[in-house]
């Protein structure tokens, strides 16, 4: 796909070099890009950078992992105890994750897209792994370490 795309792109450019220039300059016609668009891009980048900075500065080590299914808390686990855990849904769906060295990572799931398995492991406060088809969310919190009921299976 990539090959076809690039060759097509360069062909048009070779063909229409001058016209594309006109397209950029001429504001009456379909304008491809002008100053306001650049300002828009810069503004969005700035906002993203701000949010990134906020996330980075408020980053704290998490201590617990909360599992929610369909918005309800399913279980809470200690992030410092290595385990493998399976969340079972009513309709036979499942999500299996692993806690290892303080990091939680989804290793298997019944959902078709397996996006949750591809998501990177989580360790810091507020980080999440989401499985939308099964409505399962793993979230790291900075909770109290004493009140942990571990039901690992």
């Amino acid at each position: 796909m990539q090959n076809a795309g690039t060759s097509c792109f360069s062909l048009t450019f070779a063909d229409d070099n001058i016209k594309i220039y006109l397209l950029i300059i001429d504001q009456q016609e379909v304008t491809m890009i002008r100053k306001n668009d650049i300002i828009l891009i810069a503004a969005i980048l700035l906002i993203s950078a701000g949010i990134f900075a906020y996330i980075f500065l408020s980053k704290k080590e998490g201590s617990e992992l909360v599992i929610t299914v369909d918005g309800k808390v399913y279980d809470t686990l200690d992030l410092n105890k290595d385990t493998t855990y399976t969340v079972k849904g009513k309709d036979g769906s499942y999500n299996t994750f692993q806690i290892k060295n303080g990091y939680a990572d989804m290793i298997d799931a019944s959902c078709p897209d397996l996006l949750c398995v591809k998501q990177k492991d989580i360790h810091y406060n507020h980080e999440t792994i989401v499985c939308l088809p099964n409505k399962v969310v793993l979230e790291v919190i900075n909770g109290d370490k004493n009140e942990v009921d571990m039901i690992a299976n």
Binding site: M1, T12, K19, I20, L23, Q27, E29, V30, T31, M32, I33, R34, N36, D37, L40, I41, I44, L45, I47, S48, A49, I51, F52, I55, T68, D70, G71, P112, D113, L115, C116, V117, K118, Q119, K120, H126, E127, T128, V130, L132, P133, K135, V136, V137, E139
Partner: protein, 167 residues
């Protein structure tokens, strides 16, 4: 409805459908819910400029329903609808404002599509912390939106050579 318009509709729906299919064949490596290449947005933005706001809306909805039933499931369709509607709305506002040109409008379309999906996801899983994905969605929206915008401007320019699709 003139027969030419019907033909154009059919053509664009088919095109959007195929682009969605291609997109489903090549999932992006980044595993963040809501991020999409948004190839089909090429058709929507082309319709927005060459046909009109209403036609772009209808095309977008038809595409989402078709794709939802073939490559997705009803549960993924609500995310597409949230993304598609928000993206159409903001692209329309930005286009009508005449403040931005093609690439700007397309970027807004890409970003709002991602944001619409994440807002829906926040409601579905009832976890506000998904907003932490927002900066990734913004940046990916800029990249995909810019590419789609450049391609779209080339297409619309060529379509104008023939004549307006709406006539």
């Amino acid at each position: 409805m003139k027969s030419k318009k019907i033909a154009t509709y059919g053509l664009l729906v088919a095109l959007a459908f195929i682009l969605s299919y291609i997109e489903s064949l090549f999932p992006l490596a980044v595993a963040i819910p809501g991020i999409k290449m948004g190839l089909a947005n090429l058709v929507v933005i082309t319709a927005l400029y060459s046909m009109g706001v209403r036609d772009a809306f209808v095309l977008s909805i038809i595409r989402i329903i078709l794709v939802g039933f073939t490559f997705g499931s009803p549960s993924t369709m609500i995310f597409s609808i949230a993304g598609g509607l928000l993206s159409w709305l903001l692209m329309t506002i930005f286009m009508k404002s005449k403040f931005f040109s093609f690439v700007g409008v397309s970027i807004i379309g890409g970003i709002s599509h991602n944001i619409g999906q994440i807002i829906m996801a926040i409601f579905v899983v009832e976890n506000l912390n998904l907003v932490y994905y927002l900066p990734f969605l913004l940046i990916s929206g800029i990249l995909t939106g810019a590419v789609i915008g450049i391609l779209g401007a080339m297409i619309v320019k060529r379509l104008k050579k023939f004549d307006n699709l709406n006539s």
